[in-house]
Amino acid sequence: MSINRKELEEIASLAQLNIPEQQVNEITASLNQVMAMIEHINQADTAAVEPMSHPNDGHQITRQDVVTDHSHKSTLLALAAHADADHYLVPKVIE
């Protein structure tokens, strides 16, 4: 498996990243190197093997669905680069 420039742009789009023009070749080569290394996993015969997603083996621990009335709004909004009293501020989305 190796990628070309077009596929790099698709991956960057999925990853929400910009690739500066001067880095295209370098990043493509770097990703291709990792992909060549990863290819090794296909040597294993896994036909009858269950995937393992987690050391707890998918057992999901749940907690009581209890309503709490703590509001951390002002504390959390204070972490944003731009916010007013009630909202995160971003560039205009709707014309």
């Binding site: 990853a15 770097s30 990703l31 990863i38």
Partner: protein, 486 residues
């Protein structure tokens, strides 16, 4: 004073030979003196925290706890209320968490005194601490060399005795490898032993908080205080509370130690090979039975890990969008550009590379061939360990195929990844594992530390720590100090 164990320091505090203020003053002064040369800390607190000192002194005065008054630093991915948590990234360069990680709270409640935050590879991605937005860390044994990573700042800080203890985190070897390269002891507990709440996530099914310290006994005392179920982390196990029982002797009678002979024989560094066999012989001399084992799928661990960890990282790090917290790009006019430019500016090159690998592995057309296949390989590796642990109690193997290398020596990222070959299998299986010092290289690179890895059964930290403790009672490798930091 600086080279004492926790029990020795606790003894001095209890008998009032030294106060908490004085003990912490000694280490705080060392942090100030040595941070310029090591760059081990991203944040050194402006002064000793008076409330923590008071809390610790009161705990000692009423006869409480081994850890009261013992100084430490936290790896800079543990959230600390009121103190910056950068994760080694420009993305979080000015982030101050509104809450503490559970690990921080628990060790604070035990009376430990935090002096600052340790440097690390950005978002815990790296094996050299060269991928930090706050500069590389120097290995105290040779400042031109790396301390390992990603918990490189924690390892260097302990090796230089700027602190006797540091927290770390280990996703694929990030406690064990820097511990080995810096000549200290470090444990990654079983997945689920310690809460991940407030520990900035890299790969959620692999990340685990742990301890780096001078000795196995020190690590065990701190791990006992950190462990236990946390309702704030649904992956912390209900049976995770654990109390360390220090062995009373040095006998390893009835212990079966599994050895991956092929791994050791394939080591290219003659010093590491020789020290590893020597350490195994030492365990045998103490009464252990050495048994050859095989982990037939372990050679696939590097490939599987570098699918799974990036996949989880691409998902976890999608939260960094420049809107709610973290770096936000200036001068962009639409929301999509805000996301992309903030992430492009905020993340370093290694993090961006791993996010892209993960996004690719999870994308349509590649999911089954890579992500799902990697999960199946993970199962095969986990099964290998189950079979091995049917025969043995602990597995002894190398931590790293090399001693600390020079800064910039591994520009090729893949060769750095492949050096994780011995730490990744146990990470994928979620098993407890530690690194302990077993001696030094004597070659042309100078005197550099070498570590041995001990892997245990799931939730059996007691056995690997007992083996390490008994080994350390008969050796003094872990008590050696770098010449420039004595």
């Amino acid at each position: 004073m600086i080279n004492l164990t926790i029990r020795q320091m606790a003894g001095l505090l209890a008998e009032k030979s030294i106060s908490v203020q004085e003990l912490n003053g000694v280490f705080y002064d060392r942090c100030r003196a040595h941070n310029a040369s090591t760059n081990a800390l991203i944040t050194l607190n402006d002064e000793l925290n008076a409330a923590e000192i008071l809390h610790a002194q009161q705990a000692i005065d009423v006869g409480n706890h081994w850890l009261a008054g013992i100084p430490l630093v936290h790896k800079d991915l543990f959230c600390t209320q009121g103190i910056k948590t950068t994760c080694g990234s420009n993305m979080l360069a000015n982030f101050i968490s509104p809450y503490n990680a559970t690990v921080v709270d628990r060790l604070g409640q035990a009376g430990m005194v935090s002096l600052g935050k340790a440097n690390m590879d950005e978002f815990a991605m790296g094996s050299s601490n060269e991928h930090s937005a706050f500069g590389p860390v120097g290995n105290p044994w040779d400042l031109t060399r790396v301390p390992g990573g990603s918990s490189g700042g924690s390892a260097a800080a302990v090796a230089a005795r700027m602190v006797p203890v540091a927290t770390g985190s280990d996703t694929g070897g990030s406690i064990r490898q820097p511990a080995a390269l810096c000549g200290i002891t470090g444990i990654k507990p079983s997945y689920g032993r310690v809460s991940r709440y407030g520990m900035v996530a890299f790969a959620s099914s692999l990340d685990q908080a742990g301890v780096m310290a001078v000795s196995a006994d020190d690590c065990a005392l701190v791990l006992s205080a950190m462990s236990g179920h946390d309702p704030l982390d649904s992956t912390s196990a209900h049976a995770s509370t654990w109390a360390w029982e220090k062995p009373q002797d040095t006998e390893l009678k009835d212990l079966k130690v599994g050895v991956t002979r092929a791994w050791i024989d394939a080591l290219e560094d003659p010093d590491i090979k020789q020290r590893t066999w020597q350490a195994i012989e030492q365990l045998q001399d103490q009464g252990a039975q050495i048994i050859d084992i095989e982990l037939p799928h372990a050679d696939l661990a590097v490939s599987a890990y570098y699918v799974l960890a990036p996949a989880e990282c691409s998902s976890n790090l999608s939260r960094f969008d420049g809107v709610r917290f973290g770096h936000q790009a200036e001068g962009v006019n639409d929301l999509e550009s805000l996301y992309r430019q903030s992430r492009t500016e905020g993340f370093g090159e290694e993090v961006k590379k791993r996010i892209m690998i993960g996004a690719w592995a999870l994308s349509s057309g590649y999911y089954d061939a890579y992500y799902l296949q990697a999960q199946k390989v993970r199962r095969l590796i986990s099964n290998d360990f189950k079979q091995a642990f049917a025969q043995v109690d602990v597995i002894a193997c190398p931590v790293s195929p090399e001693t600390a290398f020079e800064h910039g020596a591994k520009a090729d990222g893949v060769s750095m990844y492949q050096a994780d070959q011995f730490t990744l299998p146990a990470s994928l299986a979620g098993l407890p594992c530690l690194s302990m010092p077993i001696g030094f290289s004597q070659g042309q690179n100078g005197r550099l530390p070498i570590g041995l890895q001990l892997v245990g059964r799931y939730f059996d930290e007691q056995t690997i720590l007992s083996v390490a403790d008994k080994y350390q009672q008969t050796t003094d490798h872990h008590l050696q100090l770098p010449e420039a930091f004595q």
